[in-house]
Symmetry: C2
Subunit: 281 residues, 2 copies
């Protein structure tokens, strides 16, 4: 028996499309529909079998028992009031946005059966053309919970992510946003800044170091503008902590302090080795 009868994916792009592909391939849902502002996305998602059918009209979600929001954060927030008027009262609403405090607060006010999810998967690529049904295999999915969270909806969503191949972990929206500011949003801001610093004429001398550190600077700029602004408080703290750290390295270089500089680099290297040993997600 399928876990859901009709799943609506709003924004069937890289993440939404990957969920759709897996839902259909594993028969987790009887029917998967897609909603996008762009007809091209709907046509492509249908062709790639990420959705059975789709529309630019959001009203088609009205009889879905699971509605997934997979758009940039700003759009997720904007859709809350609209969905409230359309969705079934007993529908489970889930978003897959990368920041959670603002979204969870907004959606829990309107929906009883809302669950915030953040699959730690994806890449700098965009669109349903890069989607894959295996996107979440062996990945970690953070579910944002608090005392308002509906237990039966949480059970179903936990089951969904397990079927998609992910391990799930429960974090409060506040903890999620604090942790993600450090492990994801900070590296992205640093990567964007790094790419903005290197003069264009020097790029032909770039080797693996610059390429690796700036891969995620190729990420969607609207998506990341939304994430940064939605997690403002935490990302600003994380950037400040990073600035202090870099200033420490800079000062050791300025003062020609070999021992101090070597110690700082060695400590960073040791922590990087820890990261290698932590299970690849």
């Amino acid at each position: 028996m399928s876990l859901f009868k009709k799943v609506a994916i709003i924004g069937p792009g890289l993440i939404g499309g990957s969920i759709g592909l897996a839902l259909k391939r594993k028969r987790i849902a009887l029917k998967v529909i897609g909603i996008s502002r762009r007809q091209k996305t709907i046509t492509l998602a249908k062709k790639l079998k990420a959705i059975d059918s789709g529309s630019r009209d959001i009203r088609i979600v009205k009889d879905a028992d699971l509605i997934i929001l997979a758009t940039p954060v700003h759009t997720i927030l904007r859709l809350a009031d609209i969905l409230k008027k359309i969705a079934r009262e007993d529908a489970i609403i889930m978003d897959v946005g990368s920041s959670k405090e603002e979204i969870v607060a907004r959606f829990q006010k309107l929906f009883c059966r809302y669950i915030g999810a953040h699959p730690l998967a994806g890449s700098e690529q965009q669109g349903v053309a890069s989607a894959s049904p295996c996107m979440f295999k062996n990945s970690l999915c953070v579910l944002s919970v608090n005392r308002k969270t509906d237990p039966s909806a949480l059970r179903k969503i936990t089951g969904l992510w397990r079927l998609l191949g992910a391990r799930t972990v429960l974090l409060s929206p506040a903890s999620h946003d604090k942790i993600m500011a450090m492990v994801s949003h900070l590296p992205h801001s640093v990567s964007f800044a790094l790419m903005g610093t290197v003069p264009q004429g020097y790029l032909k001398y770039a080797a693996g170091g610059l390429r690796g550190t700036t891969r995620i600077a190729g990420s969607d700029s609207i998506l990341w503008t939304d994430i940064f602004l939605s997690n403002r408080k935490n990302i600003l703290k994380a950037i400040s902590a990073f600035e202090n750290n870099l200033a420490g390295i800079k000062k050791a270089i300025q003062k020609n302090n070999r021992n101090l500089l070597e110690r700082k680099l060695r400590q960073a290297r040791e922590r990087r080795e820890l990261l290698t040993r932590v299970q690849e997600l």
Copy 2:
């Protein structure tokens, strides 16, 4: 006919060992000898066929027609006076250090046939165990030249790198150091600082973004201390430029300026696309 009779590699590690493997496999040298402070390195380099024989005693370089310095920058600098007393008058001396101004100045004072080289290859890995004869295939090797450079030595060294599979480009030591501060040393310093910022307890939530941006923070801390200190002036300028860029992103987040932030991220993303289009080195 081999290009060299006897090549001495001081520091047969990742880069020195890779040169040795290629020299022997392609029969570019009749004999390759290795010098290391550690007997373990010599034994392993011999076993892996990166050198024919080796010693902890640097005096074995006395009859080599090419001496390659492949140690950290600080050690390269320290070896100049020692080599002057041992090396043949007509031997070609080449270093493969990642910063060039200081090294070229020191060696050109002592040696007529000195060439500074910087192969833009390698990885965060270390040691001859990670060496490969294909390390330089399709890579770029910067040769540091000025009006003191001996043309016949330059011709031979250019030929050597081409045989190793690299394209060569000529840059003054000053230009080399300025460019490398941006495309290599800056990403390394940022990567070390990033890894030093993320709390250890958060590492289990890290996905591809943090892993990619901090891969090079796993690089050897002594090697990079030397590079940073040897290219102090340029790396400090590069870090300052980066700090300004990051401060711009931070300010746009602080001010909640969606348009400005999105423009900054988009510009970074466009430059990253340029980097993708530049020939992979």
